[in-house]
């Protein structure tokens, strides 16, 4: 499964997602936890629900009001949250979406990004618990 994700990623080093650590990704996700949930249907936080975000259309979570910066992303080529798109965004959200309401400064460590993307994918597939 994760090897398949890697093939689509492009920006991630070959094998990085295949070797990603879902459990470590859950630790990395603590940096996202205050504003995001991976529990299906849990809304009302300041960020959109991330259950199923891998492969989801950008700025498409129901019942969430996105910033203009995120609303602009599809027109800039970021139509779907592929692993590559998530990798670029998580590296530096401000560089991908200038003016984003999310103040998170980003994850410079590519291993940390691979781990958290693997965790998000696992959460979608029911292989991770929040």
């Amino acid at each position: 499964m994760l090897a398949g994700l890697c093939g689509a990623a492009g920006l991630l080093a070959a094998g990085m997602l295949a070797a990603a650590d879902v459990e470590q990704g859950e630790v990395v996700f603590q940096k996202c936890y205050a504003c995001h949930s991976v529990v299906p249907g849990e809304t009302g936080l300041t960020g959109p629900n991330l259950f199923g975000v891998v492969g989801r259309a950008v700025a498409s979570a129901p019942d969430f009001e996105y910033s203009a910066a995120l609303e602009r992303l599809p027109a800039q080529g970021y139509r779907v949250w592929t692993e590559a798109a998530l990798d670029a965004y998580l590296r530096s959200p401000e560089d991908v979406a200038p003016g984003t309401a999310m103040t998170f400064v980003g994850l410079p460590d590519p291993d940390a990004r691979a781990d958290v993307i693997a965790y998000l994918a696992a959460a979608r597939d029911g292989r991770a618990e929040e």
């Binding site: 630790v27 603590q30 940096k31 936890y33 205050a34 504003c35 009302g44 936080l45 300041t46 910033s67 203009a68 910066a69 401000e94 003016g99 309401a101 103040t103 400064v105």
Partner: protein
């Protein structure tokens, strides 16, 4: 633990001066990409801000527009800054998962990491209680206290888990915090550390920040509801006002020395002045779209608001109110 501050300087230009109502509005540029999150007037007339994206404490001299930034450490991403009774800057550093202080005289940066077993807490904001203890919030669901003299630190699990955001001390030294995800106000017993949940009248209102007025009433900025509310501890009474406009999103609240309430509204891209006596709102437009003011703080005659989206600090001179 202690590191000598390395500093650089940057001459920054005052961008614009505009007059509106009886207040005078000015904007000051900070380094591109600094993304100033919080601000606090310093004892020497300068102004501190957290350069969240550059891992530094910024120091602006309003008299000249000059800015320098003091690096806070590896991985730093500072969120809040306040000025302590000791004259130091006290910083909640989410990137380092630590409380950080900066001494403007010695230029020493001191890092107080949270206990290792606490895990990542997403540190948010701090306030000093009447006894000199620093209380702080972590958005992942904690609040805690630090004795600045001994360095002793305690961390408490917050009621209802994630959410603790803004925090304030009343003139009597009582500590209150807002839980954004929990949509409540917490009152902390400074002796036991226990927090009592106080529910605002509007469900799921998204209490984001809190500030005390001179009488110890707690003002709350409500992110989800677009309201500002006031809690009176003596009577447990609430009063609520909705901000003008179609879709107000109220992020920050601060009450100045004249008990005028200042709010930031992402929906209107404006700083908003609210006079509780006349129940009137006055709006001050951001310097550019997406100004995103996330905190407000001041000193007599000055209200400061960092525009995190434009890399500018907004100053409203209020003298004469």
């Amino acid at each position: 633990m202690f590191a000598r501050a390395l500093t650089g300087t940057l001459a920054a230009a005052m961008l614009a001066v505009a007059a509106q109502a009886q207040e005078k509005v000015e904007f000051f540029a900070v380094p591109d990409g600094a993304r100033p999150h919080d601000v606090s007037p310093a004892p020497d007339g300068k102004v501190w801000y957290t350069a969240q994206r550059q891992g530094a404490l910024g120091i602006l001299d309003p008299a000249t527009g000059e800015v320098e930034q003091v690096p806070l450490g590896e991985g730093s991403a500072p969120h809040g800054v306040i000025t302590g009774p000791d004259g130091k800057a006290w910083i909640t550093d989410g990137g380092q998962n630590a409380i950080v202080s900066f001494d403007p005289d010695s230029r020493e940066v001191a890092v107080y990491p949270l206990p290792e077993d606490t895990g990542y807490t997403n540190l948010n904001t701090a306030a000093f209680a009447g006894d000199g203890t620093l209380w702080f919030t972590g958005q992942n669901g904690i609040y805690g206290r630090l004795d600045p003299d001994s360095g002793d630190m305690q961390v408490f699990d917050a009621p209802e888990g994630r959410g603790p955001y803004g925090i304030t001390a009343t003139p009597a030294g009582e500590i209150y915090y807002a839980s954004l995800a929990g949509s409540y106000v917490g009152h902390v017993d400074s002796d036991t550390g226990a927090a009592t949940v106080i529910e605002p009248p509007t469900p799921n209102q998204g209490a984001r920040r809190v500030w005390s007025d001179s009488q110890g009433n707690i003002w709350v900025s409500e992110w989800n509801s677009g309201q500002v509310s006031r809690y009176t501890p003596d009577s447990s009474a609430w009063q609520v006002w909705r901000l003008p406009g179609d879709d107000p999103q109220v992020y920050a609240v601060y009450v100045d020395d004249q008990d005028i309430v200042w709010l930031s509204d992402f929906g209107a891209n404006a700083l908003v002045r609210f006079d509780p006596k006349t129940e009137t709102f006055t709006s001050f437009e951001g310097s550019a779209p997406g100004a995103n003011v996330r905190q407000i703080l001041g000193r007599p005659g000055e209200v400061w608001a960092p525009e995190s989206g434009t890399d500018r600090l907004m100053l409203i001179r209020t003298a004469g109110e």
